[in-house]
Subunit: 480 residues, 4 copies
C-alpha cells in the first residue's frame, strides 16, 4: 500500500493536460486551488497505515490474499459493505469535504459484477481481463476516477439521435489492437488526482446505440485526454495567501470536465464493447454502490455539527434550550442518514461473480435523504452560527494595525475565547454551507450519484407494490 | 410452540377481571371489541408454524436448545436482532395493527441483561431466577405484557414525594415468601391477551425511592390485578354486526389500565428488589429494544401504501404523475423508517450476560422518525383516497333497498370495480388514519416506547459531540 | 334576520327525505347524530344578534339597504372580503367544527359575478333573476347548500362520454315552465340543515356537454331530492347518551350524498342553462371564494391550540421548554394560515357586476397550506396531549362504582385539576384529531374546495412566470 | 426627490472612513466590491421617477405635503403599509439582492411612534426634534442606515455588567451642546451607501443601563465613525474583470462593522437620552416594521424562480412533470411569504402619534417563515439547475482558445440556446444560493431583523392563549 507521500510523488509523475481560469496548469500537485483536494485523497492513503483504522481502511485482496487499501477492494461479504459505509463517514469527518476516491472503488465493484454477467451470456472474457486490471490497481494502490456522466445534450433523444454524436462517449474506430473513443465526461470529481480513469456508459442503451456501450480504463495522462477544472464558490480565497478565510485549512474537492479527443484504448483495458443490453445493469450497479457512498456526507455532517456546537459555545449560548434542541435535531437528521447507509449495506447480497452488492431500494432511499437533510443541517447551522458568519471582515483586516483592535474588541464573545478562534469556526461553517465545501456537501449531495428524480424512479421500480396491495385487500375483505 | 388455536384456548382458562364501558367483561376472548386484538396476537403463533416464516418467527433457545417462538427468545447475535426487526414488519403488514407481543419479548431481553449485571455487583441470584422463569415462558410459549409506564402524577416530583405514594408501583409489604405490591400501569397494550405480566420501574431511581425499584412477573389473572380497557376511536363499530365499516375486518389492538391492588409476588418471580441504582439501566435497555420494535409500523405502513395504491386504482387516477409521486414519497418515508430499525439492529453489540443489545443511539433515532413519518404517510394517504373516505354512507345504507341503488349508481368509479370494493378500501384507510388502527399507527407511534422528547434526550446523551468538535476545530486550525 | 330559535323552527317545517344507517330519518332536527351540526349552523344566526359581533356578522344589503346576516351578503368592497375571513375564524373557534354556511355564501357571490357576465355576452336575464332570488334569501335569512361536486365516475372522460350519463347533474327535459334535472352531488356539507340548495357545474365544459352547463336553486325539500348521510369517525358516540366521550359537547358537522331524481326547476330558479363556456368561470370563482373560506380552520386551530395548552397545564408540563416551543410552533403555523386568508381578501378586486372577488392566486396558496398545516398541528397536539388521549376508559367506567375510584386515583395529574377535566380536554383533542371533528379539520381541509392538486394547477396557471424569467435574465445579462 | 445620478454624486461628497481587505478604501463609490450595492440603492431613487411605479415608490409627506420617496415616508394608513410590502417585493425582484434602504425607513417610522410616546410621559420634546430631522431627510431624499445590533459580548449579562462597557453603544460624556457616544454596531447593511446613520438601542433596558438608552442620528461621515466591510462568499469574483461568473451582473449588498470612537452628537440629533423604559418599545416597533420589510425576499424569490424556470428550459426539461411540480412548490412557498407581509400590513393599526404600525404577531410570523422558506426554495432551485451549476469552468476558460471549443461543444443543451446563456443563468442561481446574494437571501433571511428565536418569543408573547383555552374548555364542557 502506498503512503500519502508516495501517492503525492506518483501524481507528480503524471503528465496531465489540465486547464483552469483560462490557462494550462503546469504543476497540478502544488496548485493552491487543487492541492487541498489532493490532500483529501492523500488521507485515504495515510489512514490505511494507522493501526486504529486498519480494520476499516484495509482488506485482504480476494485475488492475491494481500492486505490492500479498501478503496481497491471487491466486497466479499456484508461486513465489507458495512465497513465501506463506516470508512466513508470516517473520511468525511476527517476531511470535511469530498475525498474523491469512492467513485473508483464503486466502478471496480460494479465492473466485477457486470463483466462476469456479460461473459456468462456471451462467452466473452471481460471478467478475466478485469481481474488482471484489478490486480494491477491493488498492487499499485491506485486512485481511479469512475467516469459515468456524459454531457447528454438534448435529454429527450437517445445517443445516436443527438445532433452531435459525441455528446455521449462512443467508439469511433476499431483497430486491431484496440479501439478509439471520443466524447466527454462531466462533473468528474477528483479527476486530476487520479492515476486511472474508468469509463462506463451513463444510461441503459438499445441496439442502435451499441457504439455507446463501451467501458474501459486508461491511465489518466493518456494522450488525448484533457481536463478543464470547474470553479467553485469561494475558490479563489485559496489564492489569497495564508488566511483563515478559506474555512477548511486543509482539504477541499474539485470537479472537471474530461474530454476524450480520439483516445486509443488497448483491448486489455476494454471491459464492455457493444453489449448494449448490459449497459443498464452497469449503470444500476454502479449507481447503487455510489448512492451508498454518500455515507461520507454523514462524516461531513459530523464536522458541521461539531462546528455549530463550537460556535454556540464561543457565542456563549450553548446552554439555551432552543440551541440544545437544534443540536439534537442536527444529530437526529445526520444519524438518520447514517441508518440509511448502514441498512443498505447490512441488507446486501451476493451477486453471481461473488461480489457483494448493496440493497438497491435502500441505497436509493438513503441517497434521496442525502438530497434533503444536508440542506436542513446547513440551515440549522446558519441559525446557530449567527449572522456574523456572513459579515465578518477578512483576515487581512484582522492583521491590519488600523483595524485589528476594533475587530478584537467588538467581535469578542465568551470570555477566554480568542476572537480569532471565533472567526475560524464561523469561516468553517461558511465554507460548509456557502463556500467550496458547500459544493460537495449540498449541490453534490443533490446531484452526485444521480439527481433526486433518478432515485425516485428506482424506488418506484424496486418497491413491491403488489405485496402491499395484497396485504391491504386481505385486511378489508376484498377478494378478487 | 403453541398453535393459534391452543393460544386462544389457553386464554379461555384465564380468570381475568376486566372492565369496559362501565361493566365487567365476562367472556373476554369472544368480546367483539377485544377479539380482533386477540386475533392479532394469535397471528404470532400461527405464522411460527408456517415453513416460509420459520426463519424469522422461530429461534433456538439458548437454554434448552429447542425451537421456540422468537417472541420468547433472548437475542444471541446481531442476526437475531435484525430478524426481530423483520418479524415486526412482517406482522405489522399481516395484521395492519399492533400485534402486542413485542413488549414481552423486550422485557425478557432487558431483564436478561440487567439481572445479570445486578448479580455481578450485589452477588444476588436474580439471573438464575430469571432463566428459570424464561424457560417456563419458552416451554409454554406464553404471551407476556411488559408493564413499564406508571401513572406518574405530578411529573416534577420523584415517586416518594408524590401526594399519593401509589402513583408508581411499589412494595408495600415484605413477607417471608414474597412481597406485596401496589400501584398501576397505564397504556398496557395487549394486557388482556397476555398470560403473564412483567413489571418494571419506569424511571431511574434514587436511594429514597428504593421501594419503587421492583421488577417481577405474575400470571395475568393473579388475585388483585384488575384491567380497565381504554376506548379507541370508532371502537363501537365492532358492535354493529357484520359490516365493512370497521375497515380492518380481522385485527385490532387494545390498551388497558392495569391496577395492582395489593398483589402478592412470590420470591421466585421477583427480579429486582431495592437495587435502585439499576432501575435506570433496566428502563434504558427496555426502551432501546422497544424503540427498535417500532419496526412494526413499517409493516402497517406497507398496508397503508397498499391501500392507497388500490384506492388510486379504483378511483382511476393511479397513472396521474402527482399520484405516482405521492406513492413514491410514501414508500420513501416508509423505507427510511425501515433503515432505522435495520441499522440499530445491525449495529448491535453483546452485553456481559451474552444477550445482544441494539445500538442505543440509532434505536432512538429510529423511534424519533416513527413519531413523524406515519403522520405524513397518513396525510398523503388521505390525499390519495379522496374526500369520499369521510363522507361514505354506512354499510347499512348499502344494504337498504331504499338507498342501495343510489349508492351503487353514484359511488361507482372505475369500470369493473364493485362499489363495495371501493368502500372497503376507503374504510381501511379511514381505520388506519382516523379509526381504531390510527390509535396504534399514529398516537402510539408518537408515545409508545417513550414520547419524542424522551428520544431527544437519549440522542443528546449518546451522541459523541466532543469527537465532532475536535474534527471541526482541526479543520479550521483551532488549537487549544 | 332570523334568531337561532327561528332558524331551528324553520328547519322543522321542511319535509326532507333523509337516510342514515339504512333507515329514513323522521325527525332530522332532533336526531342526535345530526343535531350538533344544526347547532353549529344556528351559531351563525345567534352571533349575528350579539352587539360585539355585529360588525363581523352582519352587513347592509346592496339591494335593499337592510341589515342582513353576512352569510347572505354580496361582497361590496375589500373590507367585506376581509371581514368574511375573520367571521370564518370566529365561527371556527366558537364551534370547533365546520359550521357549514359558508358554501352558500360563496355560491351566491360566484353567481352574482357570472350571471352578470353571461348576460353581457348573451343578452340573457340571469342576473336580474338572480338578484330577485338573492333578495328572497336575504329577507328570509336562509341557509343555502352550495352544491358543486358531482360523482364524476371515470375521471378521464367528460360528462357526455360517461357510461352512465347521470354521473354529472344534467338537464333531462325542457318544459314550458322550467327544466327537469337528474344526477347527484356528493360530499354536501350541511345539506340537511339548509333551506335551499344551489347547484352549479363542477368542471369547465365544452359544447358537447352543454346539457351539463346548468345552475339553479331549489328549496331543499323539493320533490325528488333525497339525502343519504355519510358516516364519520366516532359518529355513534353521540348515541351513547350523556357522555364526555364525544369530545365536543355541542357542535359537529355532517356530509350527505344528494340525489336529484328527475327534479323540476321553474325558470325563475335557473341561473345557467347551456352556456357551457361560462361553466369554467363559475367553478373558478366559486372555488376561489371557497378556498378563502378555509379561514374557518384557523378558528378550529385556535381550539386545538387552546386544548393542547390546557392539556399541558393539566399534565403539569406547560413550563417545559419543549412544550412551550411546540405551542409556539402551533401558533406560528395557525397564524401563517391566517395570513393567507387575510391576504387573499385584502388583495381582492372588483368584478364587472360590482361584486368583489378574492385574489385567485393567494386564495389557492392559502388553501394549499390548509391541506398541510392542520395535519402538523394535529401531530403536535397529540404529542403534547400524551398517550392517554387514546387509552382513556369510557365515561361509563368513570361512572361505574367498581372502577370510578381507580380512574380517579390513577388518572389524577396536577393537584387541583379534577380527573374529569383532564378527560374532557383529552377527549376534545381526540375529537379534533381522530374523531368526528377530524373529518372537518383534516380530511375536509385536504379535499374541501378542491383537492391539493387542484390548487397546484391554479397556482401554476395564475402565477406570472414570464415576469420572473425576465427579471432573472436581466440580472445575469441574457439578452434575447 | 433625488435621481439615481444625484444620489451617486451625493455619495461622492461624503468623506467616509472605510476599511476592507486590510486597507483603507479611498474611492468608495467606484470600488468594484462595493459598487454593486450602491447600484442597488440607486434603484430606489430611479424607480421613484418612473410613472409606472409612482404609486408604490412615492408618497405625500404628512409634514410638508410634498411628493417624497416612500423610503422617507411615515406610514399614514393601512394602504401605506401594504404599499411598503409591495415596494419591497418590486425592488427585490428588480435587484435580486438586498437594496438596503428599508432599514432607514423602519427606523424613522419607529422613532415617529416612540419619540411621541416618550414626550407624552416625560414632557420632553423629542417628537418635534424628530419631525424637524425627518423633514430634512425627506427634503434631501436621504438614505439612512438604521443601526440597532450591538456586539453584545457575553449574552447572559446586561450592558452595564459587561467586562468591556463599550460592547453596547453608550453615552460617555454629556456636553452643553450634546453628547459623546462610544461603541459599535455590527452587521450594518448598506452602511457605506448611506448619508445618515440612525442609532437605536438593541434590547429593553433597565435603570442601571440608562446610559445605553440613547438614540440619535448622525451624518455617516461624522468624525470618529469608521466602517469595516465584511466579506461575502465569492466577493472577489467582482475583482476578476468583466466576467459572467459574478452571477448578478448589476447588483449586490454589503455589511459593515460601524465603530463609534467617541463621536459627538448635537442635541438636535438626539431622540432618546436615558429614557430606558422606552428602549424596549423602540426595539419592538422597529423590529416589527423590519420583519415586515422581509417582503423583499419575495422579490428575490421571484428572481430565483425565474432563473430556475429558465434553467429548466435551457436544459430541455421544463415539461417534465416533476420539474413543473417543483416550480409550483417554489411559487407556493414564495407566495405564502407574500401573504405574510401583506397580512401584517393589512392588519395594521394607528399609533397615538398617528403613525400606522403593522400587526406585531403577523409580522413576526412572516419573518419566521422567511427564516425557512428561502432555504427550501434554494434547495429546489439547485435541484432544478443540475450539478453543472457548481462544476462549470470559469468565464476565462470559455474565452481561452484552447478550451472554448470543448466548453461550447460539451455544455450545449437545448438547440438554439447559446452555451453562454446557460452559463449565465446557472451562475445567477449559484450567486443566489451559494454566492454573494446568498448572504442576503439565506443568512440575512435567517438573522436579519432578529434571529428565529426572537420571533418565537414575540409570537409567544403576542398570541392570545387565554382566549383559545376558553374556547376549548367551553366546547368540552369544562367549567371552572
Amino acid at each position: 500500500m502506498k503512503t500519502a507521500r508516495e501517492y503525492e510523488e506518483s501524481l507528480r509523475k503524471l503528465n496531465l493536460v489540465v486547464h483552469m481560469f483560462g490557462k494550462r496548469v503546469e504543476n497540478v500537485v502544488d496548485d493552491p486551488i487543487i492541492r487541498p483536494s489532493m490532500n483529501a485523497v492523500a488521507k485515504t492513503y495515510e489512514l490505511a497505515h494507522l493501526p486504529e483504522y486498519e480494520d476499516l481502511m484495509t482488506a485482504r485482496s480476494h485475488i492475491t490474499g494481500k492486505k490492500i487499501n479498501r478503496f481497491t477492494h471487491i466486497h466479499q461479504n456484508v461486513e465489507d459493505l458495512v465497513k465501506k459505509s463506516k470508512m466513508g463517514r470516517l473520511l468525511g469527518r476527517t476531511t470535511g469535504c469530498c475525498f474523491q476516491r469512492c467513485v473508483g472503488m464503486d466502478s471496480l465493484n460494479a465492473l466485477s459484477i457486470v463483466t462476469y454477467d456479460v461473459d456468462r451470456k456471451y462467452g466473452t472474457e471481460y471478467y478475466k481481463r478485469f481481474l488482471k486490471y484489478l490486480e494491477y490497481v491493488q498492487e499499485e494502490d491506485l486512485t481511479c476516477d469512475g467516469a459515468m456522466t456524459d454531457p447528454k445534450g438534448d435529454r429527450s433523444l437517445p445517443p445516436h439521435k443527438q445532433e452531435d454524436p459525441d455528446l455521449y462517449v462512443h467508439v469511433v474506430e476499431e483497430r486491431k489492437d484496440g479501439i478509439v473513443v471520443r466524447g466527454a465526461k462531466v462533473h468528474q470529481t477528483g479527476a486530476v488526482n487520479s492515476h486511472e480513469i474508468i469509463v462506463m456508459p451513463t444510461i441503459a442503451l438499445r441496439e442502435e446505440d451499441k457504439d455507446y456501450a463501451v467501458s474501459f480504463a486508461l491511465p489518466s495522462d493518456t494522450e488525448g485526454i484533457r481536463y478543464i477544472i470547474g470553479r467553485q464558490s469561494c475558490d479563489t480565497r485559496k489564492l489569497e495567501g495564508e488566511t483563515l478565510d478559506v474555512g477548511n485549512q486543509l482539504f477541499g474537492g474539485h470537479e472537471a470536465l474530461v474530454v476524450f479527443d480520439d483516445v486509443f484504448v488497448p483491448w486489455e483495458r476494454v471491459f464492455m464493447y457493444g453489449e448494449h443490453d448490459f449497459a443498464g445493469e452497469l449503470v444500476e450497479k454502479f449507481a447503487s454502490y455510489h448512492r451508498q457512498s454518500y455515507a461520507c456526507k454523514v462524516g461531513v455532517g459530523d464536522v458541521l455539527i461539531g462546528a455549530s456546537q463550537t460556535a454556540a459555545e464561543y457565542n456563549g449560548v450553548d446552554k439555551a434550550s432552543h440551541i440544545k434542541d437544534k443540536i439534537v435535531e442536527m444529530n437526529h437528521l445526520n444519524e438518520t442518514l447514517y441508518c440509511g447507509c448502514i441498512a443498505c449495506a447490512s441488507e446486501g447480497h451476493r451477486e453471481p461473480s461473488g461480489t457483494y452488492s448493496v440493497n438497491t431500494l435502500l441505497a436509493n432511499v438513503h441517497k434521496q435523504n442525502v438530497t434533503r437533510f444536508p440542506y436542513e443541517l446547513s440551515r440549522i447551522a446558519q441559525d446557530i452560527a449567527g449572522g456574523l458568519m456572513v459579515t465578518l471582515p477578512s483576515t487581512r483586516d484582522l492583521e491590519s494595525p488600523e483595524t485589528r483592535k476594533w475587530i478584537e474588541k467588538y467581535y469578542k464573545a465568551k470570555a477566554g475565547v480568542p476572537t480569532m478562534h471565533r472567526m475560524r469556526i464561523l469561516r468553517l461553517i461558511e465554507n460548509l454551507t456557502l463556500g467550496t465545501a458547500a459544493v460537495g456537501y449540498l449541490t453534490e449531495s443533490m446531484h452526485g450519484a444521480g439527481s433526486p428524480q433518478a432515485q425516485r424512479i428506482m424506488i418506484s421500480r424496486t418497491v413491491n407494490l403488489e405485496e402491499k396491495k395484497k396485504a391491504a385487500k386481505r385486511l378489508c375483505g376484498i377478494e378478487e
